[in-house]
Amino acid sequence: MAADEITFQQISLALNGQQILNDVSLSLAAQSTTALLGRSGSGKTTLLRTINALVTPTQGTVSVHGRNVADYDRNELRRGIGYVIQESGLFPHMTIGRNVAMSYELTGKSSEAVQRRVNELLGMTGLPPQEFSSRYPHQLSGGQRQRVGLARALMSDPPILLMDEPFGALDPITRSEVQTMLHELLQRVRKTVVIVTHDLEEALYVADRILFLEHGRVVADLSSGDVRKSQHPAVREYVKAIRRGAPEAIREGTLP
């Protein structure tokens, strides 16, 4: 259980005189799903990116599986961490199949194993492989591309999955479809998931722990069940933002 933990020890990051992260210390349990919630510029994406060493903090240490990130071979570390971003980040010159298979291609696994795994993952993310494998990213809708991005991140079955506003660019209906798919998928493949979002509803739906960030600090650390009860002003603001415009009955949960 403890083997898959991610730990931040007093990490800070200053860039051009601006404090992006400010003394963040916490640990994330293995196979938990944690949401980093905050406004633009709160440091949530930067915090996420310290985990796979895309960003190096100016102070403090980040540990993955109990080992300092700085002590890893960078590529070895990153190959064990799935990464999903907004707008999917699919390579536009490669087919969907090759995009998904990329982590296998990099480590030179046999083609038969690759094909089987690609088909399995496309199936799991709701994209029939025979239909999608040979298409190119520009031939897919935003929601389909995001599913492919998720399949690619899961290809090498990494124990950790990082998601940076994965559904931010999708329309509300597509977003909810992909969220449902992710939710069900995470029940089946247990991963340590860290998801960056600015949408509290999304955080409540997929995560079991929610960290609220402001100005590079974690200002509230709550289990998703406690969010609605919290009196913390930053949390209240988010809860209010959801409730605005929602009919009373839905707010109180008396309607299905």
Binding site: N52, L54, R74, N75, E76, L77, R78, R79, I81, Y83, I85, E87, G89, L90, F91, P92, H93, M102, S103, E105, L106, Y136, P137, H138, Q139, G142, R145, R152
Partner: protein, 215 residues
Amino acid sequence: MSDITAFFSRHGWEIARLSFEHLWLTGSAMLLATAVGLPLGIVLTRYHAWAKPVLAVANIIQTVPSLALFGLLLPVPWLGANAPRLAILALTGYALLPILRNTYVGIVGIDPSLRDVANALGMTDWQRLGKVELPLAASFILAGIRTATVICVGVATIAAAIGAGGLGELIFRGVASVDNGLVLAGAVPAALLALIADSGLGALERRLAVKAHGT
């Protein structure tokens, strides 16, 4: 009509030979310029601080009038001893900037999130270059090579002034003897060479262009 037939029977072989020379000068210069410009452009994307000064030097080379550059290089030992050699090197200098600049800008201009994803997937620097950066920048780099080729075909006509041969020989002779037929006999094939190179490389460029996400 019989004039044209007579003209070609007199100059046909010469035009063919000089076209071939022209092609040889341009082709060699382009190969050399690509062999230098492409790797150098890639290196610059890894050492951004060098990009500005190196591109500035390439820019300066290109602004030197071609006749002056040929003249200036003439007294250089080894180089000046062989006119085609000198011409090829000078042409290489002219072709360098478009190739260098387009390689650099083409790679630097790639969507940074794709570079991020490549890194996050655990790609080594070489893997990122070969699998992501070069394929995505390919059509842009090729556009630079195309521009350079067209410049080279044009500038190569000046090489005749230092005795390096090529279609410029007909043009210079035509100008000296006030013979428009001879001028055209050099200019038309040179223009055709440029057009053929332009459209051929343009077609290749379109094939290599990568479709962006339709959003």
